[in-house]
Assembly symmetry: C2
Homo-oligomer: 398 residues x 2
């Protein structure tokens, strides 16, 4: 093969960004530093201690005493598939509450596994109505699993979970919750809410790079997996094998992504040093400031009051405004990344993320200021300084 010579050069650096989309979010400098350590073996006794520490820290963040907690070696979606493929056998009935893009991904995965998938489709952009689940569950006698998403990243809905959990329990079904965008950003009470399996991601509200899916598994769900009559379709994402490597007999499964686990440990330490309550309050305040600023210039939220996530704020793109042009100007002139709409909201919504390290007053102000500069140039007039002023009032408690 003839190939052109390879240019030898210094380490190419990525351009700096203010990440205000649906993730990845900004990474805490301590996390970057933790990740940049010498390598250590994944069966080294000193690394095993670190895994134990990560498990313990995860218990606190998931607010659980009883669950098995560990991190899967893949991104958030791997946590979703691990749950679907480990908790369901072919033919098992799963009832899925559907109210956004990521709910539909669960349907895809469960279909591949050969489960009897019962999707209950409700409106996007509203919380899921429990009565729909109640009515559906009455039609079945053998539901093994009910699924919901705590923080639908496509719509910005914070879904109340206690009612859904109660209904699942009443029908003797397990309850699986997507906490990808909620963990570390708002209350997530695994034990109190009667959850059997939950998974998250490192790059949203935990302040780490993407690459791991921290999960919590109830004793009941673990027993259920161990007593399957068929093996889960996935070996890599088999929750029982992963739990064995992390917590029980340390049986070699795969080579753990050491650097990412060191990053996660530091990210979790930072979360708990800040304190869960303080962290949730910080997310709330910055999101309230953002919403106040956006409302001051007439931009409307997708999620209704009372169900709005602090971490992610999808808004309707004002009529006539060019979606791509605005995002392009934000990125190229202000180094700000925001998210575009997904699924039903593609081309109709922007998604502003204020998650983990990205949830800071200076970024709220920078984003609103940039929007105030850009929007009049794409035909949407705003009163100068109105957005920044309104946000600042919230931030200063005025």
């Amino acid at each position: 093969m003839t190939q052109p010579p390879l240019p030898v050069s210094k380490i190419p650096m990525v351009p700096p960004r203010i990440l205000l989309g649906p993730g990845p979010s900004m990474v805490h400098p301590r996390v970057l530093q933790a990740m940049m350590q010498n390598m250590i073996g994944y069966l080294d006794p000193d690394f095993i201690k670190i895994m134990d520490e990560v498990s313990e820290l995860l218990k606190r963040v998931y607010q659980t005493d009883d669950a098995i907690t560990f991190a899967l070696s893949g991104t958030g979606s791997s946590g979703m598939e691990a749950g679907i493929s480990s908790l369901l056998e072919p033919g098992d009935t799963v009832v899925m509450c559907i109210y956004g893009y990521f709910c539909e991904r669960m349907v895809d995965m469960a279909t591949r596994v050969g489960a009897n998938v019962v999707p209950i489709r409700a409106d996007w952009g509203k919380p899921f109505p429990e009565e729909m689940l109640e009515a559906e569950l009455k039609k079945h006698t053998d539901v093994k699993l009910v699924t919901a998403i705590h923080a639908e990243t496509s719509t910005g809905i914070r879904q109340p979970l206690e009612g859904i959990s109660r209904l699942a329990q009443d029908h003797d079904a397990m309850f699986m919750v997507d906490a990808v965008t909620s963990l570390g950003g708002n209350e997530m009470a695994f034990d109190d809410w009667g959850i059997d399996y939950s998974y998250s991601a490192t790059q949203k509200c935990l302040g780490c790079p993407p690459g791991l899916s921290p999960v919590a598994l109830s004793a009941r769900a673990h027993e259920s997996i161990k007593s399957r009559s068929t093996l889960p379709s996935s070996w890599y994402l088999d929750l029982a094998l992963n739990a064995n490597y992390w917590g029980f007999d340390r049986v070699y499964h795969h080579t753990a992504p050491v650097s990412m686990i060191l990053a996660l440990r530091e990210g979790l330490r930072i979360v708990l040093e800040e304190g869960l309550e303080s962290r949730f309050a910080r997310h709330e305040t910055n999101a309230a400031a953002l919403r106040a600023g956006l409302e001051a210039i007439g931009i409307k939220m997708v999620a209704p009051v009372g169900y709005q996530l602090a971490q992610i704020t999808p808004v309707w793109i004002p009529e006539g405004v060019d979606d791509d042009a605005v995002r392009h100007m934000l990125l190229r002139q202000h180094s700000i990344e925001i998210g575009k709409g997904l699924g039903e909201l593609a081309g109709k919504a922007w998604r502003f993320g204020l998650m983990g390290e990205s949830s800071r007053p200076e970024y709220v102000l920078a984003l609103l200021s940039a929007l105030e500069g850009i929007l009049p140039r794409v035909g949407y007039e705003t009163a100068s300084g109105a957005a920044v002023g309104a946000a600042s009032q919230v931030l200063t408690g005025g």
Copy 2:
């Protein structure tokens, strides 16, 4: 919940190690530095360029002009499962050449997928005899896939692939090759050897942390996946969806592990700056020195001459020597990690890895010197300095 207060402290650092096991190997400082950059979005146009660059660099390392190359967001085993679950549909016949621990893992995965799995089990610690495959293939008319492992990490065997590839082609079957421990450490000619799918890992001979599985997919294999009549059992590891995100329409699939991809780019740049031929020669020289040293004190290799990998050298533990005690002393007194035996070789073999950044003369000497100090204390007498002397002769070309 009442919980004890969390100790607030500085970033806890991992202890330094000389990693001479089956991986992870030492990580190049430039790779660590590349990984410690600010975060950037996984759909950012400047990140897409980086992904293109990684694909291009992977083509060179896989020595392919025609394959689609990208990195899966999981460790090496995820590359194995992606191949098995994407290339095989339930009922498809796969013939697997089995001659070590990792070959058996493929059997497990293919069984989960519901394939018609035909394992051909040959002796561990010897190259796989092609005539066994030839005889088996004659019994079938519908073999979809033949599998082999290029560098069996459990036995240290370098498996010649051309003959197996020819047999697969003669029977119109695709050919899948595990290159986890070979890529970047010895010749791996994807195009010339007629391979349809190959996967590797970042933490062996590429000098990066574990966490990604770099893969190459032939056009024929890609077409085969796109024309499946059922969806692959795994969504996360669906090779067609991953190829779309990396190379074709950039359809959002999952959040790419940005930091790991930045690390991989730097690792691949370093591999190609050194040059493939020089890199392979370096691995050979250091392995030859290690073998000479070990032989000088009567330690025997598992793999026969002519089929020994340079990257990993499994040896028989001398009779009466305490496996655990030696590995413990190496780790605690010399900060050296080596690998233990897997599967049939558990308790019978040690595995010395000299991969990527771990393949350096100083580590060869340090390991042999440490062994010369330790072995007499566990009842195995050696002539003082014999091992280090013999290795040094090889290293200095004497």
